[in-house]
Amino acid sequence: MTRLVDVPSQFDDRSFDQFAGAFAEAAKDGERLLFDAHAAEWASPYGLVGLLVAGQAARGTGHGGEGAGERPLLTAPTHADVLTYWTRAGFFREAAELFEIHGKVPRVKAAAESDVLLPVTPVRAAEDVHAVVSNIQQRASAILASELGLDPKATMGFAMALSEACQNIVEHAGTGGWVAVQAYYWRRTLAKRVVVIAVGDAGVGFRHSLEPTQSKRFGTRWGDAAALEAALIQGISRFRDPGRGQGLAGIRRYLARWDGKIAIRSGTARIAIVPKWDDDVPLKDGLPPFPGAQVLIIIPEQGSTKR
């Protein structure tokens, strides 16, 4: 039997929990999954990376059910523009290995559009992070300076933030993941251009990574939310080396300077550093479970971003 997981028509961080809920419900008995994206109208980098993560998790954990070891199914969007955009964003290049895809996928080169700063790119090892950082700098430089109004010197900070976000996968996930970077006009919240970094993996997640060193300290409070708080707010790492935990702290500094936002979802919780222009909540717990960790970074066009 095949279980259906609806992909939201507007698939981004706001609709992600709806997707995670559908995924958790459908995946619990280990049957083969069908991710239905035929009605998708738009997906942010966070949505595209999240869909790959779900595909990876669905393939890897069949729980011994009928779907164990089988690739999940994916119905591609039917709208031609959406299909082309997902292809240009590099989604189908990665999805082809994870899903049995139904629908006609156009042959378009990834990253042919200028707003795709980095197409969906796999991150498995330190070498991949080098490639990501090397590729992004030239493309991001023009966008950050001319379209977002950031100081040209901010490009290096952007590459640093991207590097640290990707390293979370290499150092903590215990499996590979993906990163994507796009610039777009964000009508809904800001009415400004933004650059969005999305990083996701289907690995062990923050709670599992920090549990051996932190669970006792938090006692009964220990869980996904406490683990995210420890990592993002307190700069705690699973390593005993005193220099560890610099990465997320560095990202926070960079975002504070450019009025940016970071949100991390792991397991059943989500934490965010919320700038004034956004109405997100700092911490949510009791969300539908989702494998690994998903990081969202948003840097807005500079100028007044007060709502």
Binding site: A126, E127, V129, H130, A131, V133, S134, Q137, K153, T155, M156, G157, A159, M160, S163, E164, Q167, V170, E171, P242, G243, R244, Q246, G247, A249, G250, R253
Partner: protein, 145 residues
């Protein structure tokens, strides 16, 4: 004697001939070990090691910690960084401040600046003058002797 170590060359030899960025902990670790080997095999007594970041692209926080902070913690000698851009400083300064460490940066005009934790930076400059490794000009700036 002042020893000169070209970080870009160490990166190219140690990790890859393609990339110019100091990113990821494994890269930082390999590059630091390369620098430590160069220091250990230097001929003669080295008073100052000048670590040259010219031609290095981006440095992330992990590499700043793995290279600069760990070199400072493990090596009793004087380290001077040169070829350091504003972007490099953005990673190095907060990492050192977090460790309550400081390092000397040699500007293009040869003058020295200590960056990192303020108390450690002040102590470092005083030590440098006391050991006569640097001298103050009439204008109060410091340069290596």
């Amino acid at each position: 004697m002042i020893q000169h170590i070209d970080v870009h060359a160490v990166l190219q030899e140690s990790v890859s001939g393609v990339y110019t960025d100091l990113v990821t902990r494994p890269t930082g670790r390999v590059v630091r070990e390369g620098i430590e080997r160069a220091m250990a095999t230097a001929a003669g007594e080295v008073a100052v090691a000048r670590i040259d970041f010219t031609r290095v692209g981006c440095i992330d926080y992990s590499c700043a910690d793995e290279i600069v902070a760990k070199l400072l913690r493990s090596r009793p000698g004087v380290l001077v960084l040169m070829g350091v851009s504003d972007g490099h400083r953005e990673a190095i300064e907060p990492v050192l401040a977090g460790h309550r460490l400081a390092v000397l940066i040699e500007r293009p005009d040869g003058t020295l600046e200590a960056v990192g934790a303020p108390d450690a930076a002040a102590a470092l400059l005083e030590e440098l003058v006391a050991r006569r490794l640097a001298a103050r000009s009439a204008g109060g700036t410091l340069t290596l002797t």
